[in-house]
């Protein structure tokens, strides 16, 4: 199935080659979990600080382990960041 991944800030280096600044459409195994996706891209757990699926937060741990992605999902990931 195809999903979209978005990696920001220092995680941009984990994006496969492509034209868009942050986003790539990628092919993944059907029903892949969020944790497995993060692992596949070699993003350390403590670097996947803010993780959104379709704009909604998914907490680390069991929520990510149990979250099976579906076709067309948009997964956005940030390292620990802040501002204001």
């Amino acid at each position: 199935m195809n999903i979209n991944i978005e990696f920001y800030a220092s995680l941009m280096k984990y994006l496969p080659p492509g034209k868009s600044r942050f986003r790539r459409e990628v092919k993944v195994d059907d029903g892949i979990t969020l944790s497995r996706l993060i692992e596949q891209y070699n993003i350390a757990e403590d670097q996947a600080h803010l993780v959104l699926v379709n704009g909604l937060f998914v907490n680390c741990g069991a929520d990510r382990d149990n979250r099976a992605l579906v076709e067309g999902d948009v997964v956005s990931i940030w390292p620990p960041v802040a501002g204001g």
């Binding site: 920001y8 800030a9 803010l50 937060f57 802040a82």
Partner: protein, 616 residues
């Protein structure tokens, strides 16, 4: 003790400068900077006074840790009654000016009265004198800074001054220091201009020699620095990407307001983000971001130093703007960018330079232009008012043109200088002003994030993210993640952030340390530096005391619970699309709980028992 125990009092009506002892009873109750100067203000200024009259006072105040080896210990604040809101104003700035003031031997400078001619204050250690500033009046803040330092031939002289917008009566003018650091909000620069005070130049050689327990202080500040370095946000994220890294985060979670908060979500966000600032551009291969920068004593270094593409229309014929200068921070990038619908990074950087050069708050300025743009699009305002400029959302050309007019006081400048509340009232569209207590919102939509709406509504200086930055918890998960759209627990969360921030703002520290530090990191540094009890409990109670004192000033100025409110747009107009679709802010669910958590009455008043508990 870290306090110098000395105040400089400058009577501008008489032209006198006298030093006096710091009230140590008040210092022990209110610590310094925001808290202590607000105490002086509440004791010496009638809250009902005309903010731009001689009875208002302006205080420049340091904290006990300002100028010390504590990380970020370079802060100072400007405190007065605000001409924009009529409420208490306290604007905090970094750079190097605050530490220099401390080295000259002063905890604070109180300006009172009004000079009959433009003057500047020159402080060289214990020598303080007023000098004519007639040659500086009409100059930008950058020009004035250069002239003062050239006059005194001292490269280490530190200057805080106002630009032309303050002189022209813009109600949200800033006090600029070190050229691109600003005591930016609530019009403190306008108050400075009202006193005919153009600049304060300080050189101090005294250092800080009176830390209460030097050994404990070195240990506590070293621990603090280690915590900042080890923390991923303060050690890596902020120095690399600055606050601007939030542009995509806040857009991604569905809480980035756009086009005068008419929309939530901005399609151009990524073009004005921290990541875009770091990309090489086509013309010269350089990035917008030249380097990061740090204020005095700071080990985070979140500041942005930027250049505009020299081939960009805004600067191509203006070599003076082609060098590196203070770049976009998140709140400014939002107000100047998403709120006006402009996603041209170079145009926004140039406008930000102009905000620094002539000293206006970019949040209120951007939001006021955004309100004008909405009125232009619906025909309330026409090219007749704007001097021929097609002031449409998204037009970088129009935004640059109107800003260049604005800083010189031409065209539509007088109207824009009113701020959005008065501007929208003038054109009979008060509902389009996105303000609380007359001050414009920063970059987080309270429809998407509930707690920040309560923080905005109850902020003592009008809409402001820095009075209770619940975004840390509601979005960023610091110290713990709370749900953005929940209202449960938000009253207590807002109170906790407000009280802790009041203490940090009174210490001489930067609030960004709190991404890594809790009060158990901060209290030991204050406790080692200052005599008296500065335990975690006492620090938190001091923060709460300061918050309540500010509220009492506002109450005496005429504010009531009716002013703890949000514009109807944020309570009634639902978010149209995205992950927060259908949401509004539910202030009504949170406000009564907030009053209760504060120990106030149901109508937001501070009862005797709460006053007694806090020794107010």
């Amino acid at each position: 003790m870290s306090w110098t125990r000395k105040i400089l009092r400058v009577d501008l009506s008489k032209g006198s400068c006298t030093s006096e002892a710091l009230n140590m009873d008040w210092a022990n109750q209110y610590l310094g900077q925001r808290g202590l100067a607000s105490k002086y203000l509440t004791e010496e200024v009638d809250p009902k006074c005309d903010a731009l009259g001689p009875d208002n006072k302006m205080i420049m105040a340091t904290g006990p840790l300002t100028g010390t080896m504590a990380s970020t210990g370079g802060r100072y604040s400007v405190i007065c009654k605000s001409p924009l809101t009529g409420a208490i104003a306290c604007s905090n700035s970094g750079g190097f000016f605050g530490a220099e003031m401390k080295f000259a031997g002063y905890d604070m400078i109180i300006f009172e009265g009004k000079s009959d001619k433009p003057v500047y204050l020159l402080i060289q250690d214990d020598k303080a004198e007023l000098r004519s500033a007639e040659h500086l009046w009409g100059k930008s803040a950058w020009e004035a800074d250069d002239i003062v330092r050239a006059t005194h031939q001292d490269p280490q002289l530190r200057v805080a001054c106002i630009g032309r917008t303050a002189e022209q009566g813009c109600l949200y003018a800033a006090v600029m220091n070190d050229k691109h650091r600003a005591a930016g909000r609530s019009g403190v620069g306008t108050v400075m201009a009202s006193k005919n005070l153009k600049a304060v130049a300080v050189r101090g050689t005294g250092g800080i020699g009176n830390v209460n327990d030097a050994e404990a202080f070195i240990a506590a500040t070293n621990d603090g620095k280690a915590a900042l370095a080890e923390n991923a946000v303060t050690g890596q994220g902020l120095p690399a990407f600055g606050t601007q890294v939030l542009m995509n985060v806040i857009n991604g979670v569905g809480a980035l307001p756009a086009r005068n908060m008419r929309d939530v979500g901005f399609e151009g966000a990524e073009n004005i983000s921290a990541e875009a600032m770091a990309e090489p551009r086509k013309s010269d291969g350089k990035a917008n971001l030249t380097t990061n920068g740090a204020c005095f004593g700071c080990t985070i270094a979140c500041g942005r130093i930027s250049t505009v593409d020299p081939t960009h229309f805004s600067v191509k014929d203006k070599p003076q703007y082609q060098g590196a200068s203070g770049g976009l921070e998140y709140e400014a990038a939002w107000a100047l960018g998403a709120d006006t619908g402009v996603d041209d990074l170079d145009a926004l950087t140039y406008v930000n330079f102009l905000c620094n050069e002539d000293g206006m708050d970019p949040i209120t300025y951007g939001a006021t232009v955004a309100a004008a743009m909405e009125m232009f699009e619906d025909g309330t305002i026409t090219t007749k008012e704007t001097g021929g400029i097609e002031l449409k959302f998204g037009s970088a050309e129009a935004f640059v043109a109107i800003t260049e007019q604005f800083v010189t006081g031409e065209g539509f400048a007088k109207d824009l200088g009113l701020g959005s509340k008065r501007l929208c009232e003038k054109y009979k569209r008060p509902e389009l002003s996105m303000t609380v207590k007359g001050q414009e919102f920063p970059a987080y939509d309270p429809r998407g994030i509930q707690g920040i709406g309560l923080a905005y509504a109850t902020s003592n200086r009008g809409a402001c993210h820095l009075r209770g930055y619940t975004i840390a918890s509601e979005v960023l998960g610091i110290p713990v993640k709370t749900e953005m759209n929940d209202t449960d627990g938000k009253a207590e969360l807002v109170k906790a952030f407000q009280d802790a921030t009041a203490l940090v703002d009174s210490a001489g520290l930067c609030v960004f340390t709190t991404f890594a530090w809790g009060m158990d990191n901060i209290a030991p540094q204050i406790d080692a530096a200052c005599e008296g009890d500065w335990s975690v409990e006492n620090c938190l109670e001091t923060g709460e005391r300061i918050w309540n004192m500010e509220r009492l000033f506002n109450e005496a100025a005429g504010f009531t619970a009716d002013d703890d409110k949000l514009p109807k747009r944020l309570l009634k107009e639902v978010i149209k699309a995205g992950p927060t679709e259908g949401q509004v802010n539910r202030l009504g669910e949170m406000l009564p709980k907030y009053y209760e958590a504060r120990g106030w009455t149901a109508d937001g008043k501070i009862p005797d028992e709460t006053r007694q508990r806090l020794s107010l």
